[in-house]
C-alpha cells in the first residue's frame, strides 16, 4: 500500500490498522480454539484413563496418591464437587465421604481416652483395621484429604503439627503455643514432669503448672502418681498409641 499524504492517507492508515487488528483477533481466536481442542483431547484421555483404572484407584493407595498428583498438575480436582463428572465416574467423592464418616466415628469413640486429640498414625491404623473387610487400605495421605473435606463442613476437625507428629483434633479446644510446646516435649517419653517443663523451657512454676492443668482439664493429659520417685507425671495419650492393643 502506498503511503498517500493528506486525509486520504490518514484514512488508509486507519483502514490498515483495522485490518491488522482483525487479523490479530483471528490469530488469537485460532490459538484459543486450538488450545480448547487440545484441552478437550487431554481431558477425554484423562477420563479414559480414570475409567480404565477406576478399580486400581480405589484399591491401591500408592496409585491413588499418584493419580491425585497428576490431576493436581493439570489443575483438576476430582474431589471438588460431589456431583461433578469425576465424582460420579470414580465415586471418589463417596470414597472420601465414607472415610470421613469413619474418621468421625473413631474420633468420637476415642475421645474419652485421649481428650479429642489423636495421633494421625494411630487414626490411620484404626481406620485400616475397620476397613480390613473391604480390603481397601488407606494411607495418612487419604486421611488428610478426608479431613480437609470434613473441615469444609465446619465440623471442627483440624490437623495440627506438634514436632514431627501430626495430631488430628476433633474438639474445639484451642491449643496455644505453651500447650504445643509441652506436647512436643511429651513425644520423647510420652510424659512430662513439672520440673522437666520448667528446666527445658525455662518457665516459671506458675506457667508450667497452668499449662499442664489446662491440658489435664481438657482431657488431653492423664496424671500418674505411681512412680517410686514420687514425682507426678503428666501423660499424653495423643502422642502414644493407647487405643490399639
Amino acid at each position: 500500500m502506498r503511503r498517500r499524504p493528506g486525509i486520504g492517507g490518514l484514512q488508509t492508515a486507519a483502514a490498515t490498522r483495522d485490518q491488522y487488528r482483525l487479523v490479530g483477533e483471528n490469530v488469537a481466536r485460532i490459538k484459543t480454539d486450538l488450545m480448547k481442542e487440545q484441552l478437550a483431547t487431554f481431558r477425554s484421555q484423562l477420563e479414559d484413563f480414570a475409567r480404565k483404572h477406576k478399580n486400581d484407584i480405589r484399591k491401591n493407595p500408592t496409585f491413588r496418591s499418584q493419580f491425585h498428583e497428576m490431576c493436581a498438575k493439570v489443575g483438576v480436582d476430582p474431589l471438588a464437587s460431589n456431583k461433578g463428572f469425576w465424582a460420579e465416574l470414580l465415586g471418589i467423592g463417596d470414597f472420601y465421604y465414607e472415610l470421613g464418616v469413619q474418621i468421625v466415628d473413631i474420633c468420637l469413640a476415642t475421645r474419652s481416652l485421649n481428650g479429642g486429640l489423636i495421633n494421625l498414625q494411630e487414626l490411620c491404623n484404626l481406620l485400616c483395621q475397620k476397613r480390613k473387610a473391604a480390603r481397601e487400605s488407606v494411607t495418612e495421605d487419604d486421611c488428610l484429604r478426608a479431613i480437609s473435606k470434613l473441615k469444609v463442613l465446619g465440623s471442627g476437625f483440624e490437623v495440627i503439627s506438634v514436632g514431627k507428629k501430626k495430631l488430628v483434633r476433633s474438639v474445639p479446644t484451642e491449643l496455644n503455643k505453651d500447650h504445643n510446646e509441652i506436647l512436643d516435649m511429651a513425644q520423647g517419653q510420652g510424659y512430662v514432669t513439672v520440673e522437666e517443663v520448667k528446666r527445658r523451657l525455662s518457665w516459671s512454676s506458675g506457667r508450667a503448672i497452668d499449662a499442664l492443668e489446662t491440658l489435664l482439664e481438657e482431657g488431653l493429659a492423664m496424671i500418674d502418681d505411681g512412680h517410686k520417685d514420687g514425682k507426678r507425671r503428666y501423660w499424653f495419650p495423643c502422642v502414644s498409641f493407647v487405643t490399639t492393643s
Partner: protein, 179 residues
C-alpha cells in the same frame, strides 16, 4: 506379667496413668469402666470368685511398668462392680468382694441346663457332686464357688425347681431336682 499367665491384658493395663485415679470426671468414668470390664473378664477366664482388697491380686499391680493400684482405686473399681450387680461385698469393711462374673440368675440357668442335659429330673445329687462330679466336668459348674452355688440353688428352690435337704454327714447337703 508372668502373674497373668495366658491372659492377655488390654492395652491400658500397660499405660501407667491408668493406675492412678484420674481427677477429671469424664476420664475417671472411662477409667473405672475399663477396669471393671478387665476385672470381670479376668475372673471369668481364671474362675476367680473372691477378691481380697489387700491381697496380691494379679490385676492390682503391673511389675513391668512398676505401678500398683491404691487401696482407694481398688475400692472404687470393685464398688463400681457392686453397683452394676456384678459383685457383692462380703463384709462391711470392704475387705473381700464376691465377683459375679455370672449373676446368680445366670448360675441358676446353668444348673437347670445341667439338669436337663444329664436327665437329672426327679433325681438326687449332693451339692458337692454338682460342682465336682463327673457330669459337671466341661461345664461352668465345675469347680465353682460353693457359696455362689448355694445361692443359686436356694433361688431355684424358691421357684420350686428343686428341694434342698440335709444329708447324713455334717457338711453334705443334698438336692432333689423337680420332675
Amino acid at each position: 506379667m508372668q502373674k497373668l499367665g495366658d491372659f492377655k491384658p488390654p492395652h491400658f493395663f500397660n499405660y501407667p496413668p491408668y493406675f492412678t485415679l484420674q481427677p477429671l470426671k469424664d476420664t475417671q468414668q472411662k477409667q473405672v469402666q475399663l477396669w471393671k470390664e478387665l476385672i470381670l473378664d479376668y475372673c471369668r477366664t481364671q474362675k476367680i470368685f473372691v477378691i481380697g482388697l489387700e491381697d496380691d491380686f494379679p490385676l492390682f499391680s503391673n511389675s513391668a511398668i512398676e505401678r500398683s493400684l491404691s487401696h482407694e482405686a481398688r475400692d472404687i473399681f470393685l464398688s463400681g462392680l457392686v453397683s452394676d450387680g456384678r459383685a457383692e461385698w462380703m463384709d462391711k469393711g470392704h475387705k473381700k468382694c464376691l465377683i459375679l462374673w455370672l449373676r446368680i440368675q445366670d448360675w441358676a440357668d446353668c444348673i437347670l441346663r445341667f439338669v436337663k442335659d444329664n436327665g437329672l429330673e426327679d433325681s438326687v445329687m449332693t451339692v458337692e457332686e454338682i460342682r465336682s462330679g463327673i457330669e459337671s466336668q466341661g461345664t461352668e459348674l465345675h469347680g465353682m464357688d460353693r457359696t455362689v452355688l448355694m445361692r443359686a440353688l436356694r433361688m431355684l428352690e424358691q421357684k420350686g425347681k428343686l428341694a434342698m435337704f440335709k444329708g447324713s454327714s455334717a457338711d453334705d447337703e443334698g438336692v432333689k431336682f423337680s420332675a
